[in-house]
């Protein structure tokens, strides 16, 4: 699991595959810190200089640049010059997760915790776009400007959930649906150290909250005593915020239009699914794959984006909004509705094109999993076999905080 990296002696090392590289020099010309160099045989990355900015990844025409190993001791450039192929990943136990989600240890830990409910290594969907990660860090954050801050739960309800739009002006901050960004609250804690980074999922599609406007939205709930959430919920238009990221390389949506997407969420866990849905609406209008959402809140007034969601046509998204505190009604949770919709869910589970995403409060995955296991049992499938199969093929995703 990723979080082992933060306490182990292992390091990720960036390498170039000499079998695929065509020695075009693009990476060397691109690298801002001079970490890429070459001799007559190979192009190599100097581990002592590479700062994981990933500037070299997109311009590489071959894909040879995108190789990583977890190592106890970094390969020197002299060793790399002699290679005619990449060495195998040495055996370093669980630390060898080659899907880097974030390079910054602090964020790695947060993401590893968020993905812990998966019960194994997280894998991106096969057809997902390649994410950019770790472009901005604590020591080099991006500065965003607040463009909007709206309460999206009814006044008078207990939950104060906000839709906060951040603009990046001329700063390049690419995100994919499902990725997170980090907020650095200003100031220090009582221990005299800077406040910890807090991660939030992006709620907009990759091309912006407003198309091509270089902005995105976050869905943030005010938590009593929470440093980051109160800071964010109190922001005024025009104020500047320090942002790190983007982070996350696995909780991503499939680009394959045939893919079915089951989204299960509570509260602000809906943020990435708002992004997924918007992406589908903008880029895959007539996708044959089905999108279905199970979204739980206490009351309609406390369900973020309740109004706008009503307007999303069922052809784009089949919505199951369930409520646990409507006076006079039975309490209903997302797992109950999954059981009620057994036929639909079972039909989807039978397809290798189906992807499940769970996002919300930590612990919700347990109830949801039980419901999925029930559905399977009644239809004669074995959830204990299906889940790892889906996980390993990048079709089962959990992100809970």
């Amino acid at each position: 699991m990723l979080h082992d990296l933060t306490v182990s002696a292992y390091k990720k090392q960036h390498l170039i595959d000499p079998e695929i590289c065509i020695r075009c020099n693009t990476c060397e010309a691109t690298c801002p810190v001079g970490a890429v160099t070459h001799d007559d045989s190979n192009y190599v990355v100097d581990a002592a200089k590479c700062n994981f900015c990933l500037d070299c990844i997109a311009p590489c025409p071959t894909g040879s640049i995108d190789n990583w190993r977890v190592v106890a001791r970094a390969y020197s450039i002299e060793e790399q010059f002699k290679w005619s192929e990449l060495p195998a990943q040495e055996n370093v136990g669980d630390a060898a997760s080659t899907t880097a989600e974030a390079i910054e240890d602090e964020v790695d830990t947060l993401l590893a915790t968020a993905h812990a409910g998966l019960g194994g290594k997280s894998v991106a969907p096969a057809s997902a776009s390649k994410p950019v990660i770790n472009l901005y860090r604590r020591d080099k954050p991006a500065i965003a400007t607040v463009q909007g801050n709206f309460r999206i739960t009814a006044p008078g309800t207990e939950s104060d959930i906000r839709h906060i739009v951040l603009s990046f002006g001329s700063t390049h901050f690419p995100v994919l649906e499902g990725q997170s960004i980090g907020i650095i609250p200003p100031g220090m804690g009582p221990d005299g150290r800077r406040h910890a980074i807090r991660l939030y999922s992006v709620a907009s599609a990759r091309d912006g909250e407003k198309r091509n406007a270089n902005n995105f939205a976050l869905t943030i709930k005010r938590v009593e005593g929470g440093v980051a959430s109160n800071y964010m919920c109190d922001l005024k238009i025009g104020e500047k915020v320090e942002i790190t990221g983007p982070f996350g390389a696995t909780f991503l949506m499939p680009n394959d239009t045939q893919a079915n997407i089951i989204m299960i969420c509570t509260g602000t866990g809906s943020a990435p699914f708002r992004a997924f849905t918007e992406r589908r609406r903008r880029a895959m209008q007539n996708a044959p794959g089905k999108a279905i959402m199970f979204f739980g809140a206490r009351t309609p007034q406390e369900l973020p984006y309740f109004g706008p969601l009503q307007k999303v046509p069922n052809s784009l998204l089949e919505k199951h909004l369930v409520f646990s505190r409507i006076p006079g009604s039975d309490r209903e949770y997302v797992q109950d509705r999954i059981r009620t919709e057994r036929a639909t869910v079972a039909g989807l589970l039978a397809s290798p094109a189906t992807n499940i995403y769970i996002c919300g409060l930590k612990g919700m995955e347990t109830g949801v999993e039980e419901a999925l296991a029930d559905v399977c049992r009644k239809e004669g499938y074995d959830w204990s076999k299906l889940k790892p199969e889906m996980r390993q093929s990048g079709r089962y995703h959990v992100e809970t905080y």
Binding site: D55, P59, F168, N212
Partner: protein, 489 residues
């Protein structure tokens, strides 16, 4: 920031005009108007001379949305006529100097120096002319694509050549007034292989009859383009330098298509030979019966394309090249990384010449031998790729080595124009050459055999029998990704 804002921000691509650009066209009414007037003619050219039969297909293309590393490769499905051809220049370096020649040390020129106007225009037009030419040469290849992956790569090369034409046309309109406008029109008028109005350089008037030719062309001929762009990127005329620097990033994809394309053909041939226990690479009949292209024929194709591409470098000893260098217009490959005076006043450079009927190295003034030097850098670059192909053959345990032919072989320009040699440079009489030509260059039978293999293979994730699948998908896509969506008739 919104995209409707009229304010131009340095370095950011502006999509508010019809022509995406990062050169502030919105504030340059004259050039914007000129380009907008040129645009319909360009689209017309693309529709008549661009990829034949695929203008309504959705192609998984990369488009640059900004020039910084993170933004320049955005992948999505695009119909080619709707591709956002734009004018994109690498970031301006305010401190940049003229780095070679008589004006070395001056600040790089933001405008065309009057005395170099004609020379610069000529350099830009020659470069510009090659871009649409190759699109024309390759326009029929889509129909026989060995996979959707290869088809996509072909179209990516084509749209980027189109963008490179835009890049040169922008310079012509922006800096060369009426002459520039006329030259820009001319770029749309000439046609590859046309007797009356051919493209300017020889190799760009040859046919690209099959996919092996296409891969060889992108490996050898586009590599000449890479070398030319690199030496123009050294130019003291800063807008040309910045244009070429950004084009080089795209050109790398073309090198990739060529090197891996030939590599995959070689790999498939070796695989098939091994599987059939056909260990003799010279038993051409037997190898061909396996439905793959025999290695000696691949060698002959390489001989053909390499020799034509060498001609593109011009005469080994050239006064024009010396003048361009001295004027600071066109430098050497990686000029700023070379450790010398960058004036070449007294330096010598060895040039391969015909002396008493035999090829020999002769020391010439380095300034006159600029073309020779660029060509040597080119040959070294080619040799790297050949070496990697040979590794594939070696790995399969087959005794065969691909080689670059002698620079004296099959030349139409320079020191060796007019003599005939074997592929290793031994001089032949005319009669011998006519008799033995087929040993060194593809003959009609070779062409007919390759043509017989050119059957389309458009099923997702499938590859024609004669070519191996790639090791990695474009944009890391899985093996069965649908790179081109072809509408059903």
């Amino acid at each position: 920031m919104t995209n409707s804002s009229a304010a131009y921000v340095e370095g950011v691509v502006d999509y508010s005009t019809k022509i995406p650009n990062n050169v502030g066209l919105v504030n340059d009414a004259r050039v914007l108007k000129a380009l907008e007037q040129w645009h319909p003619g360009y689209i017309d050219w693309w529709m008549t001379m661009g990829p034949d039969g695929f203008q309504t297909s959705e192609v998984y293309l990369r488009t640059a949305v900004s020039i910084d590393p993170k933004g320049w490769a955005q992948f999505d499905y695009v119909k080619m006529p709707e591709y956002r051809w734009g004018v994109l220049l690498a970031t301006k370096d305010e401190e940049r100097l003229v780095n070679f020649g008589a004006s070395k040390g001056e600040k790089a020129w933001q405008d065309v120096p009057g005395e170099h106007r004609a020379a610069l225009r000529r350099l830009i037009v020659i470069q510009g002319d090659t871009e649409p030419a190759s699109v024309e040469q390759q326009r029929h290849l889509g129909k026989t694509a060995p996979s959707l992956y290869d088809m996509r790569n072909l179209f990516q090369v084509n749209v980027e050549e189109g963008r490179h034409l835009w890049a040169m046309v922008y310079l012509l309109h922006k800096y060369f007034g009426r002459d520039g406008r006329e030259e820009a029109e001319g770029l749309l008028q000439r046609r590859s292989g046309d007797h009356d109005k051919p493209r300017m350089l020889g190799a760009f008037n040859e046919a690209t009859p099959d996919w092996l030719s296409f891969f060889m062309f992108t490996f050898f001929t586009d590599r000449d383009g890479k070398m030319q762009l690199e030496s123009l990127a050294q130019s003291g005329f800063d807008p040309l330098s910045r244009t070429c620097r950004f084009m080089l990033t795209e050109e790398a994809h073309h090198m990739f298509v060529g090197e891996t394309g030939v590599g995959r053909v070689v790999e498939r041939t070796c695989e098939a030979m091994k599987a059939a226990g056909a260990g003799d690479p010279y038993d051409i009949e037997r190898v061909r019966r396996l439905g793959v292209i025999d290695l000696p024929t691949i060698q002959k194709k390489a001989n053909f394309h390499y020799s034509l591409s060498l001609d593109l470098f011009g005469s080994e000893v050239s006064t024009n090249a010396a003048n361009y260098y001295n004027a600071g217009l066109k430098g050497r490959f990686m000029e700023t990384k070379i450790d010398d005076d960058h004036l070449l006043s007294n330096a010598k450079y060895p040039v391969f010449k015909l002396v008493d009927g035999q090829p020999k190295l002769v020391a010439e003034p380095a300034l006159s031998a600029i073309n020779m030097r660029l060509r040597d850098d080119y040959s070294k670059d080619c040799q790297g790729g050949i070496g990697r192909w040979n590794k594939i053959i070696e790995k399969a345990g087959i005794k065969f080595e691909l080689k670059l032919p002698s620079v004296a072989f099959h030349r139409g320009v320079g020191e060796f124009a007019g003599v005939e040699t074997t592929s290793d440079g031994t001089i032949l009489s005319n009669d011998e050459w006519l008799r033995r030509r087929g040993e060194f260059l593809p003959n009609e039978d070779d062409g007919a055999f390759i043509a017989s293999l050119m059957k389309p293979c458009w099923e997702k994730g499938k590859y024609a029998h004669w070519i191996a699948p790639p090791k990695v998908g474009i944009d890391n896509k899985p093996g069965d990704f649908e790179y081109v969506r072809i509408p059903r008739a």
